[in-house]
């Protein structure tokens, strides 16, 4: 069971969190301007890397904040958590 650090509540058990998938996928500013393929890329395609992965977690049972985590998808080791601001996955500091 993973031990995840919520930027506000500190380290908590994985069961307190819900997973939000790959971070950094910003919603297109003007969807209507996109072709079907570009829209599909935003909608469905994921980098799904083997290794370092920046992903979203929500402290669902806790403070209900969404935040980012950098985790290795093979070792599952977590290198750090970060708060979000101004759109998905951007570091605050």
């Amino acid at each position: 069971m993973l031990l995840i650090e919520c930027p506000w509540c500190g380290e908590r058990a994985e069961t307190e969190f819900s997973y939000g998938g790959e971070a950094g996928i910003a919603r297109p500013a003007d969807p209507d301007a996109l072709g079907d393929a570009e829209w599909a890329d935003y909608l469905f395609n994921r980098s799904n890397p083997r290794g370092a992965h920046r992903e979203l977690w929500n402290h669902a049972q806790g403070c209900r904040r969404w935040f980012g985590v950098e985790r290795d998808t093979v070792t599952y080791r977590i290198s750090g958590s970060f708060r979000l601001s101004g759109g998905v996955g951007k570091r605050e500091d």
Binding site: M1, L2, E14, T15, S18, Y19, G21, E22, D36, A37, A40, D41, L43, F44, N45, R46, S47, N48, P49, R50, H53, E55, R71, T73, V74, T75, Y76
Partner: protein, 416 residues
Amino acid sequence: MKKYSAFSLVRNAISHNRRWREAWRSPEPRPEYDAIIVGGGGHGLATAYYLAKEHGVRNVAVLEKGWIGGGNTGRNTTIVRSNYLWTEASLLYEHSMKLWEGLSQDLNYNVMFSQRGVYNLGHTLQDMRDIERRVNANRLNGIDAEVVSAEQIRKDIPFINTSPDARYPILGASLQRRAGVARHDAVAWGFARAADKLGVDIIEQCEVTAINRDGGTVTGVETTRGTIRSPKVGVVVAGNASVLAAMAGLRLPIESHPLQALVSEPLKPVIDTVIMSNAVHGYISQSDKGELVIGAGIDAYNGYGQRGSFPTIEHTMQAIIELFPVLSRVRMLRQWGGIVDVCPDACPIISKTPVGGLYFNCGWGTGGFKATPGSGWVFAHTIAQDRPHELNAPFDLERFTTGALIDEHGAAAVAH
């Protein structure tokens, strides 16, 4: 290669089993092949077999980075069924089912396909609506399926908890009698042996490190055992599809997750069929060795670790006890994990790609094992003819652009 039979067993026993030949060769890779299959799992080996058998393409190499059948083929809970919801999926899986029904004889290798019947339990009124809908569709598609009542289930499945006071009472189920289980390792070995017999080179410990292209078309692959040229490369690497796709500059609508399973200690026969429950999130059958083979849920996070989190296992044990209270004192012997490549619509991709001569077969989620022969069969056709067979045409990559998804979450859910 000698034929396998009771007779050959006795004859070899007399010669102290010292005359058995190897089931498949371990050749050095040649510099060029007519087609390369990347991935020596069940699907890849089946693809090579049917390329040789159905399309006469025998100058084929199967490249496996580890040992054949070492991925999900050797890690799954071996359920085989074809009772899917949408016609596109049903026909694909039913084609596979028909191949399963003659596979041991076709391969001359006993894959122990055992049509014990698969029950998909319904616990809510909506479950039952979905079951009715799916069963009716199956029948119209020529797939055996029936709706069974809670009373019938009580008669058919000893020890199952059909109490109306259960937290999620069993209201009924769909039953596919032709469905069942098979011996997973034997599927890989059987296809390998049969493909090898037809001239296919099966090359283990050979990892693909790059996909070579000239302009928009594929020219071969770089491997840990050197460059191998080929005008056609079929990639079927569950748990690694996105990584291989990246080598060809492609992005896939796939996320890889841990999927866990566990077995109990070997018991005398107690469960004779396959029981699956989406609502209660567990599924169970008993192997010929006596082990209860139990499937757990998918872990939520992306993971290539071939292991998941313990709470998923705990939840599965709760689910099994909810379904079979008598199993509470039975013990888990071993747990493990595989990597499932999940598509947004819980259906696979068996498709040409923007790169000429490069084909992908991936995204089977939790449904790969049961499709093994059918997947190989249609993928072989797609590679040999450079166009999909009508059975896999709907599973083109293009569907994610057009929106023609085939949403099998209902029929797939956790349990396969």
